[in-house]
């Protein structure tokens, strides 16, 4: 055991001291506390407040007893899950291409990912409605190829919503996965191959577990963005297929029902928080503190 002496790690003791670098987060945290946490707390408080100011859960009862609200909640959830999945399928290979590409190619892929973010959602939504119209390029192509006999209804459907939102949120899936992939030692896959692991074994035993933290982060990002989107559904599907955000807006602006609006906000927030906390728990769990 000449070389295998106890490492410094064994003698190191954890110290109870505040790392001065933590203080660097103070301005950002203070900003968020005043402009995000405080209003949110007020909103939550108001969801339990009747119009006369007394405590009441009437808002929650009213929300869940209306089948329309339940179908909106279900649709919101479904669209968020589907667009998260669509993003994941598109983003996973892209992240690898981005990590392995060099020089100009890498820059081009990165720009292609980030540049669309600079185009406002409204501009995008209107351009999709041009493409997805019954006489738009998608339908014309489908008709020309003989795949359909009559134009397919694309606008004002959940499909349009999933396609549109995945389009906007794709970078938020690609970038966290890319950040993880670029950290992976490129020799790991060859090492696994030389140990007798075929392509599937390599993917499921090496590549996937190592990229999982990025996947989970991306899913948390995209899901929480997709579940609370407002502009995209307003422009693409309108009032016909509402989402929870639209319901919230309508409660506040149209019905002037602050309690209902606050209630729906609280429910929406809870769904997003569950996914975000759940995914950060998963990150710690799957990486086992080793990654």
């Amino acid at each position: 055991m000449s070389v295998a002496l106890p490492s410094a790690e064994a003698t190191r003791r954890p110290r109870l001291r505040v790392d001065p670098f933590v203080l660097l987060a103070a301005p950002g945290l203070l900003y968020l506390a005043i402009l995000f946490a405080l209003p949110l707390a007020i909103l939550l408080f108001r969801s339990f407040q009747a119009s006369d100011g007394t405590f009441s859960i009437a808002g929650y009862i009213a929300f869940f007893s209306d089948p329309h609200n339940l179908s909106v909640t279900w649709r919101t959830l479904k669209v968020a899950i589907l667009s998260t999945l669509l993003c994941l399928v598109l983003a996973y290979p892209t992240a690898f291409a981005l990590a392995r590409a060099r020089g100009i190619v890498q820059s081009l892929i990165l720009v292609a990912m980030v540049l669309p973010l600079s185009v406002g959602v409204i501009v995008k939504a209107f351009s999709w409605s041009i493409v997805l119209r019954s006489d738009g390029i998608v339908n014309q192509t489908l008709l020309a190829l003989g795949l359909v006999e009559a134009p397919v209804r694309l606008l004002f459907t959940e499909t349009a919503l999933v396609i549109g939102s995945a389009n906007v949120f794709l970078p938020f899936m690609v970038l966290p996965i890319y950040a993880v992939v670029r950290q992976i030692d490129p020799e790991l896959s060859p090492a696994a191959a030389s140990l007798g692991a075929g392509p599937f074994f390599r993917f499921f035993q090496v590549v996937l577990p190592l990229t999982l933290p990025g996947v989970i982060a991306g899913v948390a990002f995209v899901f929480s963005l997709a579940i609370s989107m407002y502009v995209i559904p307003s422009l693409l599907v309108g009032e016909r297929l509402s989402t929870m955000s639209m319901l919230i807006a309508r409660s506040f602006l149209f019905f002037r029902d602050a309690q209902l609006g606050s209630t729906i906000s609280a429910i929406l927030l809870l769904m997003a928080v569950i996914v975000v906390l759940g995914s950060s728990y998963l990150v710690r769990h799957v990486s086992g503190g080793r990654a």
């Binding site: 070389v3 790690e9 030692d185 090492a191 030389s194 140990l195 090496v206 503190g289 990654a291």
Partner: protein
């Protein structure tokens, strides 16, 4: 186990009596326009430890990857134990690789890393556990079985990488600069340890390295590579005393090197015009050819410029440029023309005290100790 090995060898010999265990034949690999390895032949006997030695970019790592199947050959064959594996993907070759940075799986602990190859081969859990424990004992890492690999030191990581590569009982073990990430002291310990471990297992192994001391320490034969070709493949003594090319002369060990032009050639001797006058050495080159003269430093003695030269000796005169005392020996460097080197090695440290840079000095060596290579052709 012993009987099995003997039986294996016997069976081998009935198939191909004189075929080496690993045989690389006319292999070639190019990336775009760059030919990294060209028409290369290379062979290793069963149980032999050999090194591929060369500067970076000489193609040694590519050759290693061609043998392991991590890159595919453009032409040629790779045969291990009579089995042509040229067209097999890496995971079907049963050739293990120890990587320069060890490439341990960061999401797995020590035991899971070592067991990876067995799991990939679909072995039963109990069998894997026992084999892994045995492999960890072999590299004396059994106490670390449940540690994450990130908690290990460099030397410990290397042991895990070696255990992981050996536990699958490969036909061939390839090691890509396995010691380069370790500090000098630990490197020497690990070299000795690994060599005796591989010997004990009867493993056939190829080390890739750019460090000649490492090659000399771990292998019985060394293939010196340059520009995609093997310049010389021989045991360490032959490489040092009879380097086949000027490149090997320079790359392996220290040498005096003097460029010159042949002015006269007769009866096995040539006279060479050098920056230090005409020298007469054994050799057969046409007058007018550019040649490189090489002499190992321990064959050269520094002598007083006034003493009469013996006829059996070559003598050149220069100024002493530098005196380097290395403890048990001292290197004396003479002022040399560009691309030349004049160096003499004397034993002991006393020379460093009696000689001063700037003094006039004569270097003398036996004529037959001169190595002559064509220059400029390569």
């Amino acid at each position: 186990m012993l009987q099995q090995t003997i039986g294996g060898v016997a069976a081998q010999q009935t198939v191909a009596p004189s075929a080496p265990y690993l045989s690389v034949e006319k292999i070639a690999k190019a990336y775009r326009e760059t030919r990294v390895v060209e028409d290369l032949d290379f062979a290793v006997e069963r149980g032999e430890l050999v090194s591929l030695l060369g500067p970076s970019g000489c193609g040694k790592t590519t050759l290693l990857r061609l043998i392991s199947g991590l890159v595919s050959a453009d032409a040629g064959r790779v045969v291990v134990g009579g089995r042509d594996i040229t067209r097999l993907p890496a995971h079907k070759r049963n050739v293990s690789v120890v990587f320069q940075n060890y490439a341990l799986f960061p999401h797995l602990n020590v035991r899971e890393n070592v067991g990876f190859g067995l799991k990939a081969r679909g072995r039963a859990k109990a069998g894997i556990h026992d084999a892994v424990t045995e492999a960890l004992q072999l590299v004396r890492m059994e106490a670390f079985a449940d540690r994450p690999v990130s908690a290990l030191s460099g030397g410990q990581q290397q042991r895990v990488a070696v255990a992981r590569a050996l536990v699958v009982e490969p036909d061939l073990l390839l090691l890509d600069e396995p010691f380069s990430a370790l500090d000098r002291k630990l490197r020497e310990t690990m070299q000795v340890e690994l060599k005796s471990l591989l010997r004990a297992k009867g493993m056939t192994a190829i080390f890739v390295t750019h460090d000649q001391e490492e090659a000399l320490a771990v292998s019985s034969r060394i293939a010196v590579m340059n520009a995609g070709r093997i310049e010389q493949y021989a045991d360490p003594v032959t490489l040092y005393t009879r380097p086949a090319t000027g490149f090997v002369l320079d790359f392996v060990g220290l040498s005096t090197r003097i460029a010159g032009t042949v002015s006269k050639s007769e009866s096995g001797f040539i006279e060479v015009d050098t920056a230090y006058g005409v020298v007469r050495v054994p050799g057969r080159f046409r007058p007018g050819s550019k040649v490189l003269l090489g002499v190992r430093p321990e064959r050269i003695r520094p002598v007083s410029p006034d003493a009469a030269p013996a006829d059996s000796e070559v003598r050149i005169t220069s100024m002493l440029a530098d005196v380097m005392c290395l403890g048990s020996k001292t290197h004396l460097y003479g002022e040399a023309a560009e691309d030349d080197r004049l160096v003499s090695e004397v034993s002991g440290a006393q020379a460093a005290e009696s000689l001063l840079p700037g003094e006039s000095v004569a270097f003398e060596w036996p004529r037959e100790a001169t190595l002559v290579y064509p220059l400029g052709a390569a």
